[in-house]
């Protein structure tokens, strides 16, 4: 085992250091020129390390299929967010320290993907969260940013405390903090009531990251208050960290145990609450915020299934989710005037003002609905199959009915873009960034048409948890 097996983490840590140096340097130069490229190299590093396996730090840090798969996604997501941010030439707040905090959070999430011990997990979670606490209020003089920051910190702190409290219960009941040790014991309420309560509380910390009902109240306000680029990050990458941990934890509870039933119920409520609330939103970022609450609910289908198919479906769906959500946020960032929050009406006549952006938005919206042939459809199909196979018929029915509800607000985005009329001037957006956004849309379509290679990768990763 060589140091190269940790290449993705090391590369990102190197980036953090480079950004730190840039932020304290006297020459106030923009890092936007080289950062997307450097982050792109991080994706290559993650790709290179995809097959690495091994254990570090007394087996608390493990490189397996799941961790390497998610590291690739995190590296990719980080590269896309820096790409989106680099496209914003007007953003005065996009300083090196902004990107440093972003990179630090992504680094924490990468560590989270490999942690297989509860205390290490907790530390990595905090590492990824603290930089976000600093990032969210960073938005010029906007009062809403301060409100968003406070909300995120207060909710985050409360849920973290809850998770820590849960952790203490688990340790007290099971006398181990290693996931492998915990997986070997029973998780039925009758056998270990304290541990089950502890696990539920510990999971809450990750539900918060995932914005699952009822831990979602921060989500729309924070998206609305944060800078567009920050919102694009917060809405996507930290969710990957949450999913990877939830996949690991859900792997040791069997279907129809109490904890799994809680997951299923939370999923159902989350889908419904998120979709219903999104129906009435006008602010695009708030709309996407509530939609992400609904999507967190969909992911629960895979986790509640508790099978290898369910885990791989959840992993695949989170990939689809970050792709389509980043594509949507890409458009949000592109159409925002003076870093303001765009509303549905700002999309009016987009087909005329920026046909390519309208197309990217349509692909993203239809994928978020789950319409074929997009990644969102493939992901949803895998989730539904996995949940149905484990007998969660009611959950599948709730999920498809929710899809029907969600059509309205996703479609209204496309409707405004394609049928609305506006006198606003054409959006000038550099061709290079258009190609970048187009590539995101193409990936969304490609993953819907040919999901096999990445699904197999996710299945391999999940197969190791469920041999």
């Amino acid at each position: 085992m060589s140091i190269f097996s940790l290449l993705p983490e090391l590369w990102l840590l190197g980036l953090v250091c480079a950004l730190f140096v840039a932020s304290i340097s006297d020459k106030k130069q923009s890092v936007a020129s080289w950062l997307p490229m450097a982050a792109g190299l991080g994706v290559l590093a993650a790709l290179f390390a995809l097959g690495e396996r091994g254990e570090f730090l007394y087996a608390a840090y493990k490189l397996d299929g799941l961790s390497q798969f998610f590291k690739l996604l995190i590296a990719f997501g980080f590269a896309v967010v820096t790409g989106i941010a680099a496209g914003n030439k007007e953003g005065k707040d996009l300083t090196p320290d902004y990107f440093m905090l972003l990179a630090l959070s992504a680094w924490g999430l990468m560590l989270l993907a490999s942690c297989v011990e509860l205390i290490t997990l907790y530390l990595a979670l905090e590492l990824s969260s603290y930089s976000l606490y600093a990032l969210i209020p960073l938005r010029g003089q906007d009062r809403r940013a301060a409100e968003a920051g406070i909300k995120y910190i207060l909710f985050g702190a409360a849920v973290t405390a809850l998770a820590l409290f849960g952790l203490s219960y688990i340790i007290a009941a099971k006398h181990t903090t290693y996931l492998s040790g915990l997986a070997a014991t029973s998780w039925s309420f009758a056998d270990a009531p304290m541990a089950v309560i502890g696990l539920t509380l510990f999971l809450a910390g990750f539900f918060y990251k995932l914005a699952l009902f009822p831990f979602h109240f921060w989500c729309p306000d924070v998206y609305q208050g944060a800078k567009n680029e920050t919102a694009a990050y917060v809405a996507t990458i930290p969710k990957l960290g949450a999913v990877v941990v939830l996949v690991r934890l859900a792997a040791f509870v069997a279907p129809h145990l109490e904890v799994t039933t809680i997951l299923a119920i939370l999923g159902a409520v989350s889908m419904t609450a998120g979709n219903l609330a999104a129906l009435v939103q006008r602010d695009l970022k708030r709309l996407l915020g509530f939609s992400s609450v609904a999507h967190a609910g969909y992911v629960m289908l895979g986790l509640a299934a508790g099978s290898a198919a369910g885990m791989s479906a959840a992993a695949f769906y989170s990939l689809a989710y970050i792709l389509m959500n980043l594509a949507a946020f890409y458009v949000v960032c592109a159409i925002a005037k003076n870093d303001e929050n765009p509303s549905l009406d700002d999309l009016d006549g987009l087909y005329k003002r920026a046909p390519a952006l309208a197309m990217i938005l349509a692909v993203a919206a239809f994928s978020l609905v789950g319409l074929p042939p997009t990644a969102g459809f493939a992901g949803k199909l895998f989730l539904l199959s996995a949940a149905w196979d484990q007998g969660y018929h009611w959950l599948v029915i709730v999920a498809v009915l929710n899809t029907a509800i969600s059509i309205y607000y996703y479609l209204s985005m496309v409707r405004h873009a394609y049928t609305g009329e506006s006198d606003a001037p054409a959006i000038v957006w550099p061709r290079g960034y258009l190609i970048f956004g187009g590539a995101l849309a193409v990936l969304v379509l490609l993953l819907g048409i040919l999901p096999a290679p990445l699904y197999d990768l996710a299945a391999q990763a999940a197969g190791q948890l469920h041999p």
Binding site: L371, P372, P373, S385, W388, L411, A452, Y455
Partner: protein, 524 residues
């Protein structure tokens, strides 16, 4: 990829328009875009010619193409053609060049996007009719919604926003439950392959719910009364080519879904629900006819007549007799030709008079004799005049109905009379009514318009006078479906007089066989 005939005909029919759609995005001049799409349309027609080599008595599915798609979940890229889908695919291919020609002057804005939508529609519609993998079917089924939505929303009439959203919400909401049914079939049947699923039997309880989930999606698409409210709005607001595609192809997907899935996969449930669906079909026939009778807008009149015509199709399907189902399939084809032709003509009329009101388009026989001749042909076909295509289809359905239950036949007959009433009234007023003020734009049909309408006009008489050719191709597939259905129901022990509770106790034949095996092993 495994193909039966060497050249992958069906894949080519799907891929060519897709590739052309991407190529159009790089074209600048409107004329080039139109010519390219027309060329692709003609190429589609030529490419579909090998399908005429379909052997009625041959294997159930021909021109089969199969390749792995997602082996981990058993999803395959599996296409094939049988008697149920053959004419639908041919009709779809034929409609593309006709729609391009019909919209040549009608569509003036965003020409490239319009033609991209036409091409995407064609590709996904052919995919729907040819898919033999349940997921692949669903992919094409849903993918078709987006271009159709845009056709209505962007190039439609004044209330296009309302109509397009209603269309999208109705049809997509209906088909979400279809997705749940697909997932359920995989779990119970162990595969997504439609031919393999057809060979298996399912317990009644499962069939009951699966049928309901699928039937809702299909009934909305047909549309069956009372799920039809999206249709008149969509038809009236859509541009001419959109209405043609809606009428000719899109509505057929619903009835095709009933034939492809509900009858073979859930035969016992289909038989249980048949009386209800027959009643709803008859209600649709009468309702559509009555409402059409009261219309003053020509396009609305034809739209409501579609509700009635599609009622005949669903009636034919749920009669479960070879005559009824043959009539239904023939009617699917006929409705596509006739109503497609009528919508095309209304588009041409609107270009001339800028109104779709009957009152504004009266007495046109004087100004546009050739136009009125063709309008007369399609109108007579629509009211099922003997010698035209719809006559054969409607008569077959009615014979099937009378054979099954004379009361059903009697109940459907007024529908045919209503059709005669509203179509003749329309024809009389538009051709011979008190002429509206003469408009210089009222020139007769030009060459392009003749070329657009003539193929459909020829088909009206070709099928009307020599229907045996079509029926011969369709019948073996129908017989296959119906006899399999009957065999499964008999093996299950389903009787017509059974109560619902008794039906719920019916086990799948496969399960019965396994139980018998288990008992014989225990007591040798």
């Amino acid at each position: 990829m495994m193909t039966q005939n060497g050249f992958p005909v069906v894949t080519a029919l799907i891929v060519v328009p897709l590739v052309a759609a991407v190529a159009l995005l790089f074209m600048r001049r409107d004329w080039t875009v139109r010519m390219t799409t027309l060329a692709v349309g003609i190429l589609e027609c030529l490419l579909s010619l090998p399908l005429l080599g379909y052997v009625p008595d041959g294997p159930a599915f021909q021109f089969v193409e199969k390749a792995d798609w997602l082996p981990a979940l058993g999803m395959t890229y599996h296409l094939g053609v049988d008697g149920l889908s053959l004419y639908m695919i041919l009709l779809t291919a034929l409609m593309l060049p006709l729609c391009v020609l019909g919209s040549w002057t009608y569509i003036a804005k965003r020409v490239t996007e319009f033609h991209v939508c036409l091409l995407l529609m064609t590709a996904s519609c052919i995919g729907v009719f040819a898919a033999l993998d349940f997921v692949l079917f669903y992919v094409f089924w849903e993918a078709m919604l987006v271009p159709m939505y845009l056709l209505i929303a962007v190039w439609g009439g004044p209330r296009r926003r309302y109509a397009s959203i209603k269309f999208f919400l109705y049809t997509l909401a209906g088909s979400t439950l279809l997705l749940a049914a697909i997932v359920a079939f995989r779990q119970v049947g162990g595969t997504f392959s439609i031919p393999e699923l057809m060979e298996k039997s399912y317990a009644f309880k499962f069939q009951f719910w699966a049928f309901l989930a699928m039937a809702l999606a299909f009934a909305i698409k047909v549309p069956m009364f009372p799920f039809h409210t999206w249709l008149p709005a969509a038809h009236v607001e859509a541009p001419a080519a959109g209405s043609v595609l809606l009428a000719a192809i899109l509505l057929k997907m619903g009835t095709y879904g009933f034939l492809r899935f509900c009858l073979p996969l859930t035969p016992a449930a289909a038989e249980t629900f048949a009386p209800l669906l027959i009643a709803v079909s008859i209600a649709g026939i009468i309702y559509g006819g009555c409402i059409a009778l009261g219309q003053t807008d020509i396009k609305k009149l034809i739209a409501y007549s579609s509700v009635g015509h599609m009622g005949f199709v669903t009636l034919g399907i749920f009669l479960f007799s070879v005559k009824g189902v043959s009539g239904a399939i023939l009617q699917m084809l006929n409705h596509g030709i006739t109503t497609g032709g009528l919508f095309m003509m209304i588009g041409l009329l609107y270009e001339r008079s800028h109104s779709r009101e009957i009152a504004d388009n009266q007495g046109l026989g004087k100004f546009m004799p050739a136009f009125m001749f063709l309008f007369g042909v399609f109108s007579l076909s629509s009211l099922a005049f003997p010698g035209t295509n719809s006559f054969i289809g409607e008569v077959l359905v009615l014979i099937g109905a009378f054979q099954g239950n004379p009361w059903v036949g009697f109940a459907a007959v007024p529908g045919a009379m209503l059709a005669a009433a509203y179509m003749l009234r329309l024809l009389q007023r538009v051709t011979w009514g008190e002429p509206a003020a003469y408009k210089p734009s009222w020139g007769d049909l030009g060459l392009r318009e003749w070329v657009t309408l003539a193929p459909l006009g020829i088909l009206v008489f070709y099928i009307g006078l020599a229907p045996a050719l079509c029926i011969k191709t369709i019948e073996p597939s129908i017989t296959r479906v119906l006899s399999a259905m009957e065999a499964k129901n008999t093996a299950m022990g389903l009787h017509k007089d059974m109560s619902m509770a008794e039906r719920f106790n019916l086990a799948a034949p496969l399960a019965v066989a396994e139980a018998v095996d288990a008992v014989s092993k225990e007591h040798p």
